[in-house]
């Protein structure tokens, strides 16, 4: 399949006509392609854009002069002299016959009378259009069709009586998603769609992506949620609003179907449109939208009881000391230590009512993971005036008393560019500090530091589409793309299917590693040795790109020397990867011809993360695998707007567009635009998230927008204590999160569906999402909150809309100069740099120079050092943390989404079968993990995805927070915590034991 292949050149075909009109068509086009090109509609059922042609339904038959038989338009190539009639009497009669025949087994009683006015799907549309009358179900012989139904599935269900066996779903699953859950089983009149070998989609590796839902023309495969919520699904909800998925950095385009100010369902744009997702989504994008309407949404500002207004000032009358921010909840640490429900077995039919409730929550089973009611107790609802007044007063007070260093904001990779821009503007211009950061610190900060040192850049060089279309070798290091960026993961699988050579460097046997041509399964944290050895072998074989090294780079000799002590045999001793495999991988990598390099948290979240990325960049540069279509450097970004938040200056050392805060000229420029004296702004880079929350940090007042650091930061027990200790904490969020419960003031923000703004995906694509519904209650769009707060704090701020904010951004960010809402209205968005209004955007960078003063990249040597924590007798296992397909980050959103929650309802740890057997642990058993810092009780999942002596713990779960265990040691360049490696021990926990 060629998703997204640009159509070949359209040739006039002088004598070919359709319905009398002369047409043009590319070589090899079918009659259907030509007709669509000419705007002539031919009905189709089994045909679907870009899927392999099945040609089995025969609804598309047309008459061609000189041909005795009707021809299927979808499967017949158009030739020079064809004269095609699409609605000839013969063709129409044949179509009626096809429809009549299909109707014989279809429950169509509602189409006999009044229902004809409202056909429910594409198939029924045709039935009505061609005037075919169904026989009532009771009066006919053939039985309704059957098939596997996915009973009890929380997201996707089948009503196979409506199946017409077009096999679109089979092909979509096989060819777009490259999974192959579905097929046609049995034969003749028994033929039916089957799910795996035994009807269980779980065992057939279904990812719940919903591609099958999307392509089914009859609704035989359908989404459960709208039906559960709204009963009979309206065929079309109005309006349909263009948005961007709120989860990962792929930045899928989605459409929100709105009715009565509620999001009814999510669909994706046509597969044929130019969108980053080419019409696909993953399970989160398509089915994970109900958190928006979860009853836990904050609908009014909250003020901690104890704050009272006396005259014109707010004063704290509550307890001081340790109880100042206490509440009737247990700390994350205490919850971690508690016994909990063992994990239910993994299978379909995990109906919500069969899942364990989080123990405190005894209400409606649909809200298994809701905010416990007592969390609200320490708060009272307030008006916006009260809340913002208090925030403004306290932030001004702390600033006056402790100076600019005491002030900080955490920005949000979930909020829009405009919102991030406004918040860093506020803290920098009003408080004169650069203490601005966001979760990029825990994500790609080491990539950014390494890429800035080598190339002076902070973003991917290429596009996702080039990987699918044009690269010959894909090298993936420490990125579990099919789970964390599933839509991109599917395109990698398609690339592999079309013949791209896949090399995966990962300690776990993740899905891509199983598919890979070479899997380099190294010991965690030994990547530098691996990459250095690859480069060593490349140099030994003379496979380096000498021309590229000479013309585009400098300091190569230093790296040449640095890799000299890493022959593959030595790397084998360190990494555990056989030397021969390292050699083979190195040769394939260097020979390309076009090799794309992808990496993610598996490299960055290490004590040596900066060195790991540096040694990978050395590999890229030495082989010249950058700056061509198909040879891309792709750090895969996590959050939907982590790229944008960084671009907007939500990092402590740069203004928007990576302009240094230490440069007086830059300060001058920004001060002018923001209307303040340059001297009021600081030239000193600020503190990073991980430095701010350390004991002894100077921060006294903290404003958090849309982050939940108590779950995402390492060594939670300490982090939690720190958050309780500061003087003032304001949190702006959708829910009362684990962090927000410690706040003085909680400000209810808006979800992605409730505001307009732009997001930047992992390939630098700026996309505009439109507001679809209103925020609940008095909640406000986050940009409005910041504008209001800025004015109250005395920083004149007059933006009437996000669009106006963008107008200012393009003035100050050179790479965004050509960006405007007008231009962003097209679905494809714009890939920055967009230096001017007429610039089309940049699909890939660095074809002739790097953005350094002399245009050259610099090699930096990197040496291997042991990971921060090594296993020993007492802590014999190496723990790795990361994400799951069904959950997002700290679970705030995904755990409040019914379908996602039902798939992964409890915290689990993956343990290798042999280790589990040795410890006497079986699937679902509770175990206690103990690291040098803390312990949690969690369910075991026995899985050979992890290697022996390694375990994997997703960090989404409050009740068994992985980050209680992780180490807070910081990487020296970017201050990234070493989240990926920590030594632990595992003990079975007898149920009934006291903890």
């Amino acid at each position: 399949m060629h998703l997204g292949c640009p159509p070949a050149n359209f040739q006039p075909m002088p004598s070919a006509t359709i319905n009398g009109r002369t047409i043009t068509a590319p070589d090899g086009a079918t009659i259907l392609d030509a007709a669509r090109g000419a705007g002539v509609e031919i009905p189709t059922l089994c045909w679907y854009p870009k899927l392999p042609i099945a040609g089995n339904c025969r609804i598309c038959v047309v008459s061609v002069d000189g041909q005795a038989k009707l021809l299927p338009a979808c499967a017949t190539k158009i030739t020079e002299d064809m004269r095609v009639t699409t609605e000839s009497p013969e063709a129409v009669a044949a179509r009626r016959g096809v429809l009549k025949m299909l109707l014989e087994r279809y429950p169509a009683d509602h189409l006999i009378n009044g229902g004809r006015a409202r056909p429910n799907n594409q198939f029924e549309d045709y039935v009505v259009r061609y005037g075919v009358q169904p026989t009532p179900v009771g009066q006919r012989l053939p039985l309704l069709r059957r098939g596997d139904e996915r009973p009890g599935d929380p997201m996707i269900s089948h009503d196979m009586t409506r199946c017409i066996l077009c096999t679109r779903c089979v092909r979509a699953c096989e060819d777009i998603q490259v999974v192959g859950v579905l097929d046609v089983g049995y034969r003749g009149e028994q033929a039916q769609i089957i799910v795996g070998a035994d009807g269980d989609p779980d065992k057939a590796a279904c990812t719940w992506c919903g591609e099958c839902v999307r392509v089914c023309p009859t609704g035989a495969i359908f989404e459960v949620l709208p039906q559960q919520r709204f009963g009979e699904i309206p065929v079309t909800a109005e309006p349909v609003v263009q948005s961007v998925c709120p989860y990962c950095g792929v930045g899928c385009r989605i459409e929100l179907h709105v009715e009565d100010d509620e999001v009814l369902r999510v669909t994706s744009p046509s597969i044929e449109l130019d969108t980053p997702n080419q019409g696909s989504t993953c399970v989160k994008g398509r089915f994970g939208y109900d958190y928006v309407q979860h009853r836990d949404r904050l609908t009014a500002p909250l003020i901690r009881r104890g704050w009272v207004k006396r005259g014109t000032r707010w004063v704290w009358t509550g307890p001081n000391g340790a109880d100042r921010r206490a509440g009737p909840w247990r700390s994350i640490e205490a919850e971690g230590h508690e016994l909990k429900h063992p994990a239910p077995p993994r299978a379909t039919g995990k109906r919500l009512r069969d899942l364990p409730l989080l123990d405190r929550v005894t209400m409606d089973i649909r809200e298994r993971a809701a905010t416990p009611p007592d969390w609200y107790q320490p708060f009272r609802q307030a008006t916006w005036d009260e809340a913002l007044e208090l925030v403004a007063q306290e932030m001004s007070r702390v600033h006056a008393e402790h100076g600019p260093e005491a002030m900080a904001v955490f920005q949000s990779a979930k909020c829009t560019n405009e919102e991030n821009y406004l918040l860093q503007r506020l803290i920098r211009a009003r408080f004169g500090t650069n203490n601005v950061d966001h979760c990029t610190r825990l994500c790609h900060s080491t990539s950014v530091s390494a890429m800035q040192a080598a190339l002076n850049t902070a973003a991917a060089s290429g596009s996702m589409r080039e990987v699918e279309e044009a690269c010959d070798v894909i090298f993936i290091a420490g990125a579990n793309t099919t789970e964390t960026h599933p839509v991109f993961g599917a395109s990698l699988k398609r690339a592999h299917k079309r013949g791209a050579f896949l090399i995966v460097a990962d300690p776990r046997r993740i899905e891509l590693a199983r598919l890979a041509d070479i899997h380099l399964q190294m010991q965690p944290g030994t990547d530098v040795a691996l990459f250095n050895a690859m480069l060593h072998h490349i140099l030994a074989q003379g496979l380096e790109n000498r021309e590229f090294i000479a013309q585009r780079t400098k300091s190569f000799d230093a790296v040449k020397q640095a890799v000299a002590p890493y022959p593959p045999e030595r790397a084998e001793a360190i990494t555990g990867v056989p030397a021969a495999l390292i050699r083979q991988a190195a040769e394939r990598y260097a020979k390309g011809p076009n090799t794309t390099t992808l990496w993610a948290m598996g490299l960055t979240q290490h004590l040596t993360g900066h060195d790991m990325v540096t040694s990978l960049l050395n590999l890229i540069l030495a082989t010249g695998m950058i700056g061509r279509w198909g040879a891309a450097m792709m750090p895969v970004r996590g959050q939907n707007n982590v790229q944008g938040a960084s671009d907007m200056g939500a990092i402590p050392f740069v203004y928007p567009d990576y302009q240094s805060v230490s440069d007086p000229a830059m300060r001058e420029k920004f001060a002018r635009v923001w209307g303040v004296e340059p001297e009021r702004m600081s030239l000193t880079p600020g503190l990073k998230v991980t430095e701010m929350t350390q004991e002894g940090s100077p921060i006294r007042a903290l404003y958090i927008m849309g982050e939940n650091p108590i779950i995402s930061d390492p060594d939670i027990a300490h982090a939690e204590a720190w958050f309780r200790s500061i003087e003032f904490l304001a949190v702006q969020d959708l829910f009362l999160t684990e962090t927000a419960r410690y706040a003085d003031v909680v400000l209810p923000g808006a979800s992605f569906a409730e505001k307009t703004g732009t997001f930047v995906n992992t390939e630098r694509r700026i996309q505009l999402a439109h507001q679809a519904i209103h925020p609940p209650g008095t909640a406000r769009a986050d940009w409005e909150i910041i504008v209001d707060l800025s004015n109250r704090l005395g920083l004149p701020t007059t933006f009437p809309s996000p669009e106006a904010v963008m107008e200012e951004i393009r003035q100050v960010a050179p790479a965004w100069a050509g960006v405007s809402y007008q231009r962003l209205k097209n679905l494809a968005g714009l890939q920055y740099p967009v230096p001017s209004d007429d610039h089309p955007g940049t699909a890939f960078l660095f074809d002739d120079r790097f953005p350094t003063p002399d245009g050259k990249a610099t090699f930096h040597p990197a040496q291997y050092t042991d990971p921060a924590e090594l296993p020993d007798q007492e802590y014999p296992f190496v723990m790795n943390t990361g994400r799951q397909l069904y959950h997002w980050h700290t679970g705030t959103m995904s755990r409040r989404s019914n379908g996602l929650d039902a798939r992964e309802p409890t915290a689990i740890v993956e343990i290798h079968p042999d280790d589990a057997a040795e410890l006497g642990i079986t699937d679902g058993d509770l175990v206690r993990l103990t690291s040098r810092r803390n312990a949690v009780v969690i369910s075991a999942r026995v899985s050979d995805r992890v290697a022996r002596r390694q375990i994997f713990v997703p960090f989404h779960f409050r009740e068994a927070a992985a980050n209680l265990l992780t180490s807070p040691v910081l990487e020296p360049h970017a201050k990234m915590p070493a989240l990926k490696v920590c030594a632990v021990r595992i003990e079975p926990v007898a149920v009934g034991a006291t903890v």
Binding site: G180, V181, G185, R187, I194, A197, A204
Partner: protein, 163 residues
């Protein structure tokens, strides 16, 4: 159909046998039919688990394997008796008394109905279409043995050979 516990088929010698088979086919997928026969020989029938195992060893999807198993009539998706009895009942044989032969088999094997397995687990009887021996009615297949000219009276005698 499902089993409660599952022992993989392709281990030890059978794995070796399969590995020897594979090079004779252009792709692994092409070896699907013989691989399924190996399962049926070993287990008597092909369970959902076995389909998933075959999918795994041949790099196919479980649904694809099930699609193939269910397309053909000669793969058993349910356990069958030790001796699988197929009686031709197509028109020519039918005219010569095949119905009586079927009845005799059902009676003497203790199978209550076509397709069911006798309580002692020894027999399953089914009707099949023309076995290509129309001149020798009624032909019957018991396991891999082909027997011609079977009459209702001859059935008990015949069954004694298949215990």
């Amino acid at each position: 159909m499902h089993e409660t516990t599952y022992e993989p088929v392709f281990t030890g010698d059978r794995k070796k046998q399969l590995d020897q088979l594979l090079p004779r086919f252009p792709t692994k997928r092409a070896a699907l039919l013989p691989a399924l026969w190996m399962v049926q020989q070993a287990r008597g029938w092909i369970s959902d688990h076995a389909m998933a195992e075959v999918a795994e060893v041949l790099g196919l999807t479980p649904a694809y394997v099930k699609g193939v198993v269910t397309f053909y009539t000669m793969y058993h998706q349910h356990p069958v008796g030790k001796h699988f009895v197929q009686v031709c009942t197509t028109t020519p044989c039918n005219l010569c008394g095949a119905e009586g032969v079927v009845k005799a088999f059902l009676e003497h094997t203790g199978c209550k109905e076509l397709g069911a397995t006798s309580p002692d687990g020894k027999y399953t009887v089914i009707e099949v279409e023309c076995l290509g021996a129309c001149g020798f009615p009624t032909p019957v297949m018991i396991g891999d043995d082909f027997i011609e000219n079977v009459t209702p009276e001859g059935v008990p005698e015949l069954l004694r050979k298949y215990q």
